[in-house]
Amino acid sequence: MTKTAVTFRLNGAETAIFVDGGQNLLDVLRRGVGDLSPKYGCGQGGCGGCSVLVDGTLRLACITLAESVDGASVETAAGLADGPRLHPLQKAFMEGFAAQCGYCTPGMLMAARALLDANPDPAREEVVEAISGNLCRCTGYEPIIDAILAAAADLRGGAAR
C-alpha cells in the first residue's frame, strides 16, 4: 500500500508520520501519533467526539483526510492544559460537573475553545450554536453550556488582570 509522508505540528510539537491513502486524521492522531484525546464516536462527522483545531479552525478529525493537514498546526484536547495548569475551560467543566462519562468532553472542549478564541464574550445562544455539532448523551447539555459561559467569564477576568 502506498504511504504518504505527512508533517504537521501537534499541540506545538513537530510530528511526521506515514499515512495510508484515505486514512483519516483521527486514526492517524490516535493510532499513529498516540494522541488518544480525540474520540471515535461515529466516523460520519456526526457526533463531534473527534473535534480538533486545524490551523485554529474547528474540524472533525474523522472526516479529515490525514494528508490534508500536511504543514498545518493541529491542536487537540491533550494540548489544552499548560503542563499541570488547566485551561479555564477544563477547570469550568471540572467544577461545573459538566462531564459524566467523559467521552464527548475532549471534543466539546475543543468546540468551546474555538468559540472562545473567536468570541470571548459569547451569549448563551452562541454557546448553544458553537456546540451544536457535538453530541452528549449524558448531561442534557445544560451543565456544559453553563461551564463554557463560566470559562468565558474566567478568561475575560484573566485578561483584565
Partner: protein
C-alpha cells in the same frame, strides 16, 4: 396557525437493583503504609459516577477524608466480583459492599490505634479528617497515618476489609406472579409544560417541574447530573428516538446521528428539580440509585401535556410531529384543553378559571364540553 399550551403530569416508582436479586457485588478495602485507603472493585463507571460515589461511601464508613481514599476499578485480576452496572444497582449493591469492606477495615484501624494508645477500641472515634481520638477527648488522639504505620511496621497487622452484598435470589410464581422483586424503590413526579403547533405537530417543551425521591442524595451534584441528564433522555425518548421510525417495518432505518434524532442543546427546557430523601433501610446511607427512574416520568408527562394542549392522545412512542399531525387531522383540528372536566383544584388557582363539572362519561372521550375553559391545573406555572 395556533400554538397551544399544554401541561401534563406523571409519577412513577422505580425498583432498585436487579429484579429477583441474586446479583452480588464485592469490594476490597486496604490501607497503604501511611493510612490512605484503596477501594478495589470490578464495578463499571459508565458516567454515572461509580468511582466517585463509592469513594465517598468508603470515606464515610472508614471515618477518613475522601481525599485519602481512591477507588480502583475494573480489573478482573484484582477487583472482586461485581454483577455489573445496570438496573440502578450500583449505588445500592456496590455501596453496601463497600460499607462492609470499609467497616471491617475501620475496625482493624481502631484496634491498631487502641493498641498504640493503650485504650479500648470501643472508646475510639474518628474525626473524618485523619485523626482517631478517645470519644469526648479530642486531645487524646493519634493520626490515621501513624496508626497505619504502627499497624504495618510494629504490630504486623493489616488494615483491610472485604465486603459483599447480596439480595438472595428468588423466583416469580408461575401462577400468581408472586415475587420479591427488589428491596426498595425510588420515586418521582413531574409536570411538563409545552407548546404544540397545530399546523405542523411540532412540540416545544418549555419547562419541567420535578420532585425526585432518591433515598439520600449521597452526592447532590452527582444526583443532579443524573436527574437533569435523565430528564433530557426522557424527552428524547418521548419525542425523538427510534431505530425503527415506522415500526414494525424495519425501514427507513437511521444509521447516523442526523437521522437518529435527539434533542439538541437548543431544545433544552428549564428544569426545576426538588430532591426528597426517604432513606431506604437497606441502602447505603439510605441512597437509592436515581439513574434510571429519572427518565421514566417524562415520557407520559409529555404525552399527557400534548393531550391537554390539543386533545390528541399520543399512545405510541416516539411522539413525532407526524403522529401529532395525523391525530389532529383525525380529530378535525386541535381541541385545546381537551379533557372532560371534573370538580377539582380550586385553591390557589392562578388563572382564576372556574372548576368545571364534566360529563365524566368514560373512556377515551377526551373532549366533551367547554373547550374554552381550562381546568385550574392547566394553568401555566411560574
Amino acid at each position: 396557525m395556533a400554538i397551544h399550551k399544554g401541561r401534563g403530569f406523571a409519577c412513577v416508582n422505580y425498583p432498585i437493583g436487579m429484579n429477583l436479586g441474586g446479583d452480588p457485588s464485592q469490594a476490597l478495602v486496604h490501607a497503604t503504609p501511611d493510612g490512605k485507603f484503596m477501594v478495589t472493585l470490578s464495578s463499571i463507571d459508565l458516567g454515572q459516577g461509580m468511582k466517585s460515589v463509592t469513594r465517598q461511601i468508603a470515606a464515610e464508613a472508614l471515618g477518613v477524608s475522601v481525599s485519602d481514599v481512591h477507588v480502583d476499578t475494573a480489573d478482573s485480576d484484582t477487583g472482586p466480583h461485581c454483577m455489573g452496572s445496570f438496573a440502578s444497582r450500583g449505588t445500592h449493591r456496590v455501596g453496601n459492599a463497600v460499607i462492609r469492606a470499609a467497616t471491617e477495615a475501620r475496625a482493624q484501624l481502631l484496634e491498631a490505634a487502641a493498641e498504640e494508645m493503650e485504650v479500648d477500641a470501643a472508646d475510639l472515634v474518628t474525626d473524618g479528617s485523619g485523626n482517631i481520638h478517645v470519644r469526648g477527648a479530642p486531645s487524646r488522639a493519634i493520626t490515621v497515618a501513624d496508626t497505619a504505620i504502627a499497624a504495618q511496621f510494629r504490630q504486623g497487622r493489616t488494615l483491610a476489609g472485604r465486603g459483599i452484598f447480596l439480595v438472595p435470589p428468588s423466583d416469580a410464581d408461575p401462577e400468581t406472579g408472586e415475587m420479591s422483586p427488589v428491596t426498595c424503590f425510588a420515586h418521582a413526579a413531574l409536570v411538563v409544560d409545552l407548546e404544540v403547533d397545530d399546523e405542523t405537530g411540532e412540540v416545544t417543551v418549555q419547562s419541567i417541574h420535578s420532585a425526585y425521591e432518591v433515598g439520600r442524595a449521597l452526592n447532590p451534584r452527582l444526583v443532579e447530573q443524573q436527574l437533569i441528564g435523565g430528564a433530557w433522555m426522557g424527552l428524547s425518548h418521548a419525542l425523538f428516538e427510534t431505530t425503527e421510525p415506522v415500526y414494525p417495518e424495519r425501514d427507513p432505518a437511521p444509521l447516523d446521528f442526523n437521522s437518529y434524532v435527539m434533542p439538541g442543546p437548543g431544545d433544552i427546557p428549564d428544569h426545576h428539580v426538588a430532591v426528597l430523601e426517604r432513606p431506604a433501610p437497606d441502602a447505603p446511607y439510605g441512597g437509592k440509585g436515581p439513574g434510571e427512574m429519572c427518565a421514566n416520568p417524562v415520557l407520559p408527562a409529555v404525552a399527557n401535556a400534548i393531550y391537554n394542549a390539543v386533545g390528541v392522545r399520543c399512545d405510541t412512542l416516539p411522539i413525532t410531529p407526524e403522529r401529532i399531525l395525523r391525530g389532529l387531522r383525525e380529530l378535525g383540528g386541535a381541541r385545546p384543553g381537551g379533557w372532560s372536566g371534573g370538580n377539582f383544584g380550586g385553591t390557589g388557582n392562578p388563572n382564576g378559571a372556574e372548576p368545571r363539572t364534566g360529563s365524566g362519561d368514560g373512556a377515551g372521550n377526551g373532549h366533551g364540553d367547554g373547550h374554552g375553559t381550562r381546568p385550574a391545573w392547566m394553568a401555566t406555572g411560574r
